[in-house]
Amino acid sequence: MHDDARVDELAITVIGHDRPGIIADVAEVLAGLGMNLTDSTMTRLRGHFAMTLICGGPGAEAGTPAIEDVEAALAPLTADGTLATTVRKVGPEGTPEPPGGHYVLSVHGADRLGIVASVARGLAEFGGNITDLTTRLSGDLYVLVAELDLPAGADVDAIGERLEAVSRALGVEVALRPAETDVL
């Protein structure tokens, strides 16, 4: 069943060579189509421009613009081959289960294959959901910082032991601690 009245959102990625004005160009294209740039994140990854955003359509009556129209409007940005964009429709997300706890995980050590895979798998086995992740390679030093939600009733000590085992196997340092939320 397809519900045409439902307002889909568009998920857009823009990745490539950084230069001044990329965000201005993208935002103008979306504004021109009546799209609201709602949640977005942009950073530079090893110098590459990297942006991911979700935007909502102009309203239920008008509907979300066709993907082809958005792609056509973004085409001038990608014409010289230095930027790549993707556009796809995504349905609305439900409200997630309230987490049992919010934690910050730091991992650092000598760079080697499989750090993220091993750590993330260890968390996933306990139902830990990574909500934000940054990794950086700086010389020989590999750094991972993740924020994660643990399910209600999760055995935090067992997760800590699992991460300790992973860190020993990888020869890296691991610190897991509750995230602090200051409400001022």
Partner: protein
């Protein structure tokens, strides 16, 4: 017992040697440092070396023994002239330092000579009481605040085998350093 402001690196009577600063992921940075005898001649020399190395390193406001490859609870601090200071005790070295009181927690951005390309937002106490021993100068207690308090906590962490990376506030709290301070 001398106060920390009366203590002077010159009183050690030793020429400090500038030592190479080790960078993460060196294992020594993640090991808890040994408790030291603050009157041991080797510790007095280490204290002089830490001050000498700190002084030749631009923007360096603190340096701990593990950062020069020595797994020991000794560090040098000097935040004089830094814009975020309030209380300043000048140049001093502490052995076997521990946090006695900590309050007024606040987030601030930190860098580290052993992690030269990254900075991180770390919550630290804005007011601390730190107990420790001056090299050749006995047991002391320092009450300080603001940036000097942050520097002390950062260096005490080094002596416990911790880096600011172990305490960053979240996934978006590490940054690639743009300017070398």
């Amino acid at each position: 017992m001398t106060g920390v402001v009366d203590w002077s690196v010159e009183d050690l009577g030793r020429q400090g040697v500038v030592r190479p600063v080790v960078r993460a992921p060196a294992a020594v940075l993640s090991m808890a440092g040994e408790v030291v005898d603050p009157d041991d001649p080797a510790v007095l020399q280490l204290a002089a070396d830490l001050v000498a190395t700190m002084r030749v390193s631009p923007g360096c406001v603190g340096l701990a023994a593990p950062q020069v490859g020595v797994s020991a609870q000794v560090f040098a601090v000097d935040v004089t002239g830094h814009p975020k200071v309030r209380t300043v005790h000048g140049t001093f070295v502490l052995c076997n330092a521990r946090l006695v009181e900590a309050s007024q927690w606040q987030k601030g951005r930190e860098g580290c000579m052993s992690v030269p390309d990254l900075t991180g937002d770390v919550k630290r106490a804005g007011r601390v009481v730190v107990a420790g021993e001056l090299p050749g100068g006995g047991e002391i207690e320092i009450t300080t605040n603001a940036f000097e308090a942050r520097a002390l906590q950062h260096e005490i962490d080094h002596c416990a085998g911790l880096l600011f990376l172990d305490r960053v506030a979240g996934a978006h709290a590490i940054h690639t350093r743009k300017v070398y301070l």
